[in-house]
Symmetry: C2
Subunit: 508 residues, 2 copies
């Protein structure tokens, strides 16, 4: 990995990259309630009926045994598990409403619950793109550059997965190299994939080493996050269930997100898709609480719809926004943090990418999402991670962060004396009231260009996407890795060497 | 004006232009309250203090006489009017909370109040642009094409002014030709500028002719709309006041919008800008009620901020969104409909144009704006009307309209039986529940492209803006003017001929 520390002191003065400092964000506004309390109860009861009458297929014998022992009605032949409503309700009540996830840099710890909001990177895209290189399959170089960009952008709180899948790394040891890069290139909370038991156990151990923590400490202090997608409809597969079990046993954070695309893997009605999403989420979340009561979990909502003509998934649609808001209501009913996304289906970083993202973001923010996954860089319904989009999203996220700072209304901000001084028809440019606030009065953008048309044209007539391209490359040129304790660095290298010697992940 | 009626029957089959039908939209959700009830009262009282101690300059002797007679404290020399709080409160109480504005096609009447939302065109831009012709000064041809596009796009409810200023028409008679085009090219509610008494009186008479109404009927049925901007800070100029007086006397709709750009014409704090906005709005609205108690008015909020480094106005900023939401709270306090905007400061129809527009739109929608001015086509902080942006905005507005349709939650939409039929791990593509909803299940976009990357690339790899360009030209090619009664058409032509003989507007 290239270290840019040697360039310190000779760095060019960058124009225009002023960002807000790292902040743990809290939403001070009431959420938008899409549904009435009665409608939420109707969906809740429809989910309980699904769980009781249709059940969920748990495709792992170990999971079936655990559920059997807990009192669920298990058919070991079909692997379908039916739940008494009380079993679900009792276990959902054990999930914590609030928890902290620990980063190797404690200043980058993140909080879930109490209306906190956290933004993560795009995750799991098979392709990467930028204006110079176009669209290409994911590789380790692009992977690392996304991590560097994430570390540099204060408004991104955590890694929500591999921003792009580095297919040039061998699958059996890819997770070791990817996690190594999470730790060495950044100091924010990171992610392990629930693709079987081993990857999760390796992730937990590497998170422990990165933090210099003991195993006992790790059991008290969640430091790793995973997302488990149900294989909708009404099914959770074996590698995912292994992840649920190990993450729960180690008290690490599991996000259960059903992939309920309305019209494809769920009914062609948002109410039906929500009922199914809720059933699948409740099954997975209750299961985690059966494995380890009180383990930190997040309710994931990802319901969107397909284009009925082509079957293509759509995101940032009106239906998507409604589902995002309603999912937040459901999560709040169970008093667990809520995960939403910043999604769009555009193939190019254009106006569509922006307006679909905004429709998603407003659904997430006003649905009181605690985790906004794919908050920066997501394109094409998840099939591509874009460097320009990551920077544009950072702007959109910063604007949201600033929107979440309440207005101050007091004698000083009301500015009566300034108005008296300026009088009728004057202006406030040079007044003391204005000059006192010159530096901090208003949000300063990182990409938005507010110059007039003539100045903009003279400066090259660049679109926001072109400006984002310039900026992302400047940020990478200026990037310096955060310090890592030498002993931890050595321990990490030794762990990876040993696991590689063992051949990495043995099972498929 | 080119009539395309002769092309009927030989029209090409257009791909992809499916729009939602005309609808009077209602917002079913609770607004976002940016400020507490106490904070709203604090701003209200700050405004009353401004009105009582600093006063507002009314730059028209006739207005001073009216206010003098009503009991305000008038200084005829400085033209500053100070208001007792009770005079403001008493007159604000006379403004109607709800009214209908009549179009020449009654199906296009619009309703203000009761959470109705109406979208208008961009207004008053000095420049027009599209991808073929680039940016150019406004002309009558572009003006007419914007009117045609507005008539064709169902989601645009009314004309909020001249989309672009046709500077190739002589100023003294421009309003006659522009209003003639409003009436002949469309059948939606239109607009007259408060640039002196004559333009307003001509506008009212032409609205009467277009509707085939009597003068008495016009007094009962508002059929014309105007926007009055105060010349902030704390001043309303003479031509605007003539507009307020004539519109009120004729019971036509007046939107009072202070131009309180925080840091320039208002204090560099949003609270201060809101207090000043509120003072100016209350002064103008109360004045209209003194002229004619009960005349329909709308509270306009346009508070945004400047870039403190350049003094350039910014729109769709976090501060803008906060101000939009808070302004809605103020308007609701006075029980009058609220006007907001779909604003952005981008110089090109790109991601910035879209995300700033969305930040503005969400502020308008969740602030419960009854009138969203500049909802379609606005660019560059109002200095340019874009054909591509108008079509992209129509998409964003349609998405909002669809978002405002509540979710249906019932036995049928919950889809339990469909889930039972599909079972664990199946799909819903071919189920009866899906097929029954095939045509109408989800929002169908007019510009958004949800195809996969390969299909999108094969189709030419067009951005949303390029697709909007193609579509706007197709819509214009297919445009047909709405029918106009021959007698009204003749009367209109005679009126315009007579007014042109008289030389149009006599005063400057």
């Amino acid at each position: 990995m290239a270290r840019s520390g040697g360039r310190r002191g000779q760095r060019r003065e960058r124009q225009g990259f002023h960002q807000l400092p790292w902040r743990n964000l809290v939403n001070p506004y009431a959420p938008i309630d899409m549904l009435s309390a009665d409608q939420i109860e109707t969906i809740h009861h429809a989910s309980l009926r699904i769980l009781e009458e249709l059940g969920i297929a748990f495709l792992l014998p170990e999971a079936l045994d655990i559920l059997d022992a807990a009192g669920a009605e298990v058919d070991h032949k079909t692997q379908v598990v039916r739940f008494d409503p009380q079993l679900i309700e009792d276990n959902m009540a054990k999930a914590p409403p609030r928890f902290v996830v620990h980063a190797r840099n404690p200043e980058h710890n993140v909080i879930f619950g109490d209306n906190h909001i956290n933004f993560s990177t795009v995750a799991s895209a098979p392709n990467a793109s930028d204006l110079q290189g176009g669209r290409r399959p994911g590789c380790y170089e692009d992977y690392c550059n996304f991590l560097r960009l994430t570390q540099a952008l204060n408004v991104i709180h955590l890694y929500g997965g591999y921003p792009v899948e580095p297919v040039d790394l061998p699958p059996a040891t890819r997770h070791l190299d990817c996690t190594d890069a999470f730790i060495r290139l950044g100091d924010k909370v990171f992610f392990a994939y629930s693709l079987g038991r081993e990857r999760i156990l390796d992730g937990i151990e590497m998170a422990r080493i990165a933090r210099g923590a003991t195993s006992e400490q790790m059991l008290r202090e969640p430091s790793l996050i995973t997302v488990v997608n149900s294989s909708s409809p009404l099914r959770i597969d074996a590698p995912m269930l292994e992840g649920v079990i190990e993450m729960a046993r180690h008290n690490q954070v599991m996000v259960l997100t059903p992939f309920t695309l309305s019209g494809a893997m769920a009914p062609a009605t948002i109410a039906g898709a929500l009922a199914q999403q809720n059933a699948e989420a409740l099954a997975g979340l209750a299961f985690s609480q059966i494995v380890n009561p009180g383990t930190p979990v997040i309710y994931g909502g990802f319901t969107s719809n397909v284009d009925m003509k082509s079957g293509a998934p759509a995101f940032g649609t009106p239906e998507y926004t409604k589902a995002a808001l309603a999912s937040g209501q459901l999560a709040r009913r169970y008093k667990v943090p809520y995960r939403s996304s910043n999604a769009n289906a555009s193939n190019v970083v254009d106006a569509q990418a922006a307006y679909e993202s905004e429709m998603s973001l407003w659904g997430a923010i006003m649905g009181h999402a605690g985790l906004v996954l794919h908050a920066a860089g997501w394109m094409e319904g998840g099939l591509c991670a874009s460097f320009e989009k990551m920077v544009l999203d950072a702007e959109m996220l910063q604007m949201m962060a600033e929107f979440l700072s309440p207005l101050e209304v007091n004698e000083d901000t009301l500015g009566f004396e300034a108005m008296r001084d300026v009088g009728h028809g004057g202006h406030f440019f040079g007044t003391k009231h204005t000059l006192d606030r010159y530096e901090t009065a208003f949000y300063a953008p990182i990409i938005s260009d507010w110059s007039n048309y003539e100045s903009w044209e003279e400066a090259g007539a660049h679109t926001a996407t072109e400006r984002a391209n310039t900026l992302y490359r400047e940020i990478l040129a200026d990037y310096e890795p955060p310090p890592l304790d030498a002993a931890r660095s050595d321990e990490l290298a030794e762990f990876i060497a040993r696991r590689k010697e063992e051949g990495g992940v043995q099972a498929a």
